[in-house]
């Protein structure tokens, strides 16, 4: 078993003690001491994954970073650093986007929330907070009257995901949840704690992400578990979060996207605001769009027995042609699936290639993404 070691002490979320007393198996992740799965009769990645698909699961994602941008020119600042078109956001609405380099590759991916006409909240990956903040602070200087503030320590973030999420959360809040649309949010209270409730998630399932003050995180966590007891809610770790997001074909920074992959190669054209004014990475992306990409991410299923993993090489014939960026045996679909960058001529569904799994060429077939789509 690999045991990652790091020099700096691991950071702890406000729920760390709760995870430990609840029997979580803790692992280092992006500098944080995080639960990978829970032990006990309802624990383990597979059961946690299935709980989210069929009932509900509760995740501590307080390691995620929050950066606010405010000021009269906040919209212009966000438009400059974020690839998606933030002018389309109404107050109370959120969007998925990319923080891009001038090459059109990823500094990070993020959610952009419009809190007020000139006030935005960016939710970024835990491992990238200092990089993102430094990048944003530098890049928004030309935008005028706008400042970026790293407010990560002001928020704990819980994710309640699964078809029973509304039923479980509604008794705890005055915010009317049923009418809330996907990728919209509202301010209110949860279990008498000031909260922002967002209908978003990283599982491909219905659900909410709930921002609360760190000192109240444990109270909200317990209240949700209590409220969801009859509905079968279980606490979930990062292991299930990863298999759930992969079934939903959501990209993972550091695996599927990074500063070597462009938004077009990552097949994320829909988060590029082609019609808006210039933004960091736009000229490179326009050029790449005109010329056409030479490789693109695809979803695949294994045809032969075996599980492709991050970093395995892709072969077309005898030629090394790409690399697997994510791969697992998925608990719900019960298939070995993954994502890989391959040459564009091999990206059509049905196209086949080989994955080198520890020296063995193992056949895989391109399939449409997402692998899993919930019934609405």
């Amino acid at each position: 078993m690999e045991q990652a070691t790091t020099e700096a002490p691991l950071k702890k979320t406000p729920l760390n003690a709760r995870h430990r007393t609840s029997g979580a198996r803790m692992v280092p992740f992006a500098g944080w001491d995080m639960p990978v799965e829970y032990t006990g009769p309802a624990g383990g990645v597979v059961q946690e994954h299935m709980a989210v698909r069929t009932r509900a699961g509760l995740f501590d994602v307080s390691h995620m970073g929050e950066i606010e941008i405010a000021g009269n020119d906040a919209l212009a600042a966000v438009q400059r650093i974020s690839s998606n078109d933030a002018s389309k956001l109404q107050v109370g609405q959120a969007q998925y986007s990319g923080l891009l380099t001038p090459k059109g590759t990823f500094v990070d991916d993020l959610l952009v929330y419009r809190l007020a006409p000139s006030h935005f909240l960016l939710v970024v990956n835990a491992g990238n907070i200092p990089t993102d903040y430094a990048w944003i602070a530098e890049q928004i200087k030309p935008a005028g009257d706008a400042v970026a503030v790293d407010v990560s320590s002001r928020y704990a973030l819980l994710a309640l995901q699964g078809p029973a999420a509304v039923e479980i959360l509604q008794p705890l809040t005055g915010v009317e949840l049923a009418p809330m649309k996907y990728y919209w949010f509202a301010h209110g209270e949860v279990a008498s704690v000031r909260a922002t409730i967002s209908r978003t998630g990283y599982t491909g399932e219905d659900g909410f992400e709930i921002f609360v003050p760190p000192q109240s995180a444990d109270r909200v966590w317990q209240a949700i578990l209590d409220s969801g007891r009859n509905a079968g809610v279980v606490p979930c770790g990062l292991g299930a979060r990863d298999t759930l997001r992969l079934e939903a074909a959501m990209r993972l920074y550091g695996n599927d996207i990074d500063d070597t992959t462009t938004a077009l190669e990552a097949d994320l054209n829909w988060i590029v605001g082609w019609k808006k004014d210039d933004f960091v990475g736009a000229p490179a992306l326009r050029e790449q769009k005109a010329a056409g990409v030479s490789r693109r991410i695809v979803g695949f299923e294994m045809v032969d027995r075996g599980i492709a993993r991050h970093g395995h090489d892709v072969y077309v014939g005898d030629t090394k042609a790409g690399v697997v960026t994510s791969g697992t045996q998925t608990p719900f679909l019960k298939k070995a699936i993954g994502m890989a960058y391959v040459p564009v001529e091999h990206t059509a569904p049905g196209a086949e290639f080989d994955v080198d799994i520890r020296g063995r060429r193992t056949r895989a077939r391109v399939v449409p993404m997402p692998f899993y789509k919930r019934q609405k």
Binding site: M1, E2, V45
Partner: protein, 125 residues
Amino acid sequence: MASYPASLKYTKDHEWIELSGDRGKVGITDYAQQQLGDVVYVELPEVGAKLKQGQSFGTIESVKAVSELYSPVTGEVVDVNSSLKDKPETVNKDPHASWMIVVRLSNPGEAGALLDATQYQDLVK
């Protein structure tokens, strides 16, 4: 608290072997399956494969991790538990009954250096 049968011998790599004459059934311990989490894939050798003590004879994968399986003894694989292909999760449910391979020992003396249940229990506690 897991119980480790006294009828088995154990390795520091968390395999067990159940010896019977010059043959030994090999699997992984309860501690190993707990560390792995949900097992979703087991890859085993062909009958006839020759193994050295400590050599990898296959891989076991959980949702998150891949681990090597190491042979507790030197010998030849004479049987493989092919039912684990379709039901790898039995390794989690009943690790000390979920044998993976049967090895015919070419050097039975090696088994003397393996851990007994008490020693193994001390190792993983």
